[in-house]
């Protein structure tokens, strides 16, 4: 049973990183492209990039939280 809980915790954080990782990579790449195309707008692009990264980051944090909750069950 404990092995299953450990596996569940590991899977919770591992799977929760995949989607946001892809999304953040996509967003950062697009932001770099637009900064290269329009360097004078770099400040605004950076601010909105950080904000959108924060929203994606939250999804991973939910997974991390579930992993900690599961570890607390030992």
């Amino acid at each position: 049973m404990e092995g299953l809980i450990a596996l569940g915790a590991a899977l919770a954080i591992a799977i929760a990183t995949i989607g946001p990782g892809l999304g953040q990579g996509n967003a950062a790449g697009k932001a770099m492209e637009s900064i290269a195309r329009q360097p004078e707008a770099a400040g605004e692009i950076r601010t909105s990039l950080i904000l959108s990264l924060a929203f994606m980051e939250a999804l991973t944090i939910y997974g991390l939280l579930i992993a900690f909750l599961l570890l607390g069950k030992f």
Binding site: T47, I50, A58, I61, Y62, F68, L69, L71, G72, K73
Partner: protein
């Protein structure tokens, strides 16, 4: 609700007994833990710093501390003006938002002090959900308070826009905002502390150093993101035109 017992139970279990949890002493029946004493210390540091920086304010500062803090405040104000539309708007809410930024920044960094989390009386306040939830609840009430204050009763109209059918969804959104705000800060800082702790348990010398450099970066970004999101929420609730 959700923050009541389960998270703290797991926290206590993961930290172990020696990780500075539990009450140190109690005042009038209120338990004072390491987080509370660290928060007192941080408040003292902020008060003393701002006292010495503004004791003799000059137009062209010779006081290096005043110079430094002015630079930080002006950069933050510039960023907030970009989000809230105008500098006038940003200045109106700056006392709240600026306090959030500096308090969260130094409480994130307090987890990097030697012995933080091990010795009683020193633990990063933002690594517990109760502190971050408290900050997020302040944002929640401030958003609606400023919204009603600027727009009056018309503020509540945005809950039934674009169609009244969406009212439940809009209400859920309002409550998810503080939840994700507090969980993001708590999860990042707590996760960081756990990684540092397990690195230090592996090899106490030099191995935690790279992670500590990363923590310096993450601590800043998390404080920045919290402030930006609070500014965004307050900015949209007080904006004149709703789309």
């Amino acid at each position: 609700m959700f923050f009541a017992t389960p998270v703290f139970a797991s926290e206590a279990a993961a930290h172990g007994a020696e990780h500075g949890h539990g009450a140190l002493f109690s005042i009038f029946g209120l338990e004072v833990s390491s987080v509370v004493t660290t928060m007192w210390g941080l408040m003292l540091i902020l008060l003393v710093l701002s006292y010495f920086a503004t004791r003799k304010v000059e137009l062209v500062p010779v006081n290096k501390l005043q110079n430094m803090l002015e630079l930080a405040v002006e950069m933050l104000l510039g960023q907030l003006s970009g989000i809230m539309g105008s500098e006038k708007n940003a200045k109106r809410y700056f006392p709240l938002l600026g306090s959030f930024f500096f308090l969260i920044l130094i409480s994130n960094y307090s987890g990097l002090l030697p012995g933080a989390g091990h010795i009683p009386g020193l633990q990063a306040p933002t690594s517990t959900l109760s502190v971050t939830a408290g900050l997020a609840i302040v944002v929640f009430f401030a958003t609606h308070f400023f919204g009603v204050k600027t727009k009056g009763i018309k503020y509540f109209k945005h809950f039934i826009e674009p169609i009244p059918f969406l009212l439940p969804l809009n209400l859920i959104e309002e409550f998810v905002k503080p939840l994700s705000l507090s969980l993001r800060l708590y999860g990042n800082i707590y996760g960081e502390e756990m990684v540092l702790l397990s690195f230090a348990a592996l090899i106490p010398l030099f191995l935690p150093l790279p992670m500590m450099f990363l923590s310096l970066l993450f601590g800043f970004i998390q404080a920045f993101v919290f402030t930006m999101l609070a500014a965004l929420y307050i900015g949209t609730s007080t904006a004149e035109h709703h789309h």
